[in-house]
Amino acid sequence: MKLTINGEEQQIPETVESVEQLLAHFNVAHKKSVVEKNGEILTKPEQKESLLNENDRLEIVHFVGGG
């Protein structure tokens, strides 16, 4: 399945069906992050329910040092 993640096109195995599974696929599920799918911010429970579709645009952000 083709997804755009953080501005870059990625091929994701079909076994990855939800946003939650996508985070696990990249090994970042344990990290504090925020996911936006097609412009909509997803809460944690929504990440579980939110199914991925071809050409979805995802933004995965986290928190970094800043002033």
Binding site: V28, V34, I41, I60, V61, H62, F63, V64, G66, G67
Partner: protein, 255 residues
Amino acid sequence: MLNIGKFSFASRLFLGTGKYKTAEVQKQAVEASETEVLTFAVRRMNIFDSSQPDPFEDMDLKGYRLLPNTAGAKTAEEAVRIARMADAAGMCDMIKVEVIGCDKTLLPDPVETLKASEQLLKEGFTVLAYTSDDVVLARKLQELGIHAIMPGASPIGTGLGIVNPYNLAHIIEQAVVPVIVDAGIGSPKDASYAMELGADGVLLNTAVAGADQPVKMAEAMKLAVQAGKLGHEAGRTEKKFYAQASSPTEGMSQL
């Protein structure tokens, strides 16, 4: 106590978390500063490097109020989006609206700052806006109902200190909400000066992170903010053109 929206703080020093050499130095500096408010940024995660360190991993954030910034935003829309993201992660007690309008000076875009602040206030955020030292803009922000005004002392990361104490004094004089002097603070002298002018607090980052000994500088900044605040409350002596002896001029013993 410093009151911003529904929050109260004993410390008047807010600390940024950027540019520390190591996470351990940052942690120690934060402790030494005795700050209660931490600022940080929101950025894309590198999903291909799960070992990328999380700067807040080893820190117990429970004791702190979190003030994410919207740095990187160039429009109100982008700033609002960053604020919503931070909020969705439960990492946003207050939001620092920062919309940059000039790449060279990193000075804020006043129009977009105003727009973003208005929207975030509508959405119920506790909003602190990073502004230039513009007196009229500061007034307009507080007319919107902003929770604190954050005028820059000088451009971000320059360490030039307070370049326009005149404007800053006017912003402070007219303020009906707390004024937190943000950006450009270089040394404890600058932090103290801001407080002496009547500011309610200081937000700094590079001044500590970029010091030779950040932990020591964090403590120095804590003391400088306290000294400046006390000095302001005490009321400084008048400035005079001619000297006036401190010791009695009469009763001198003669040779």
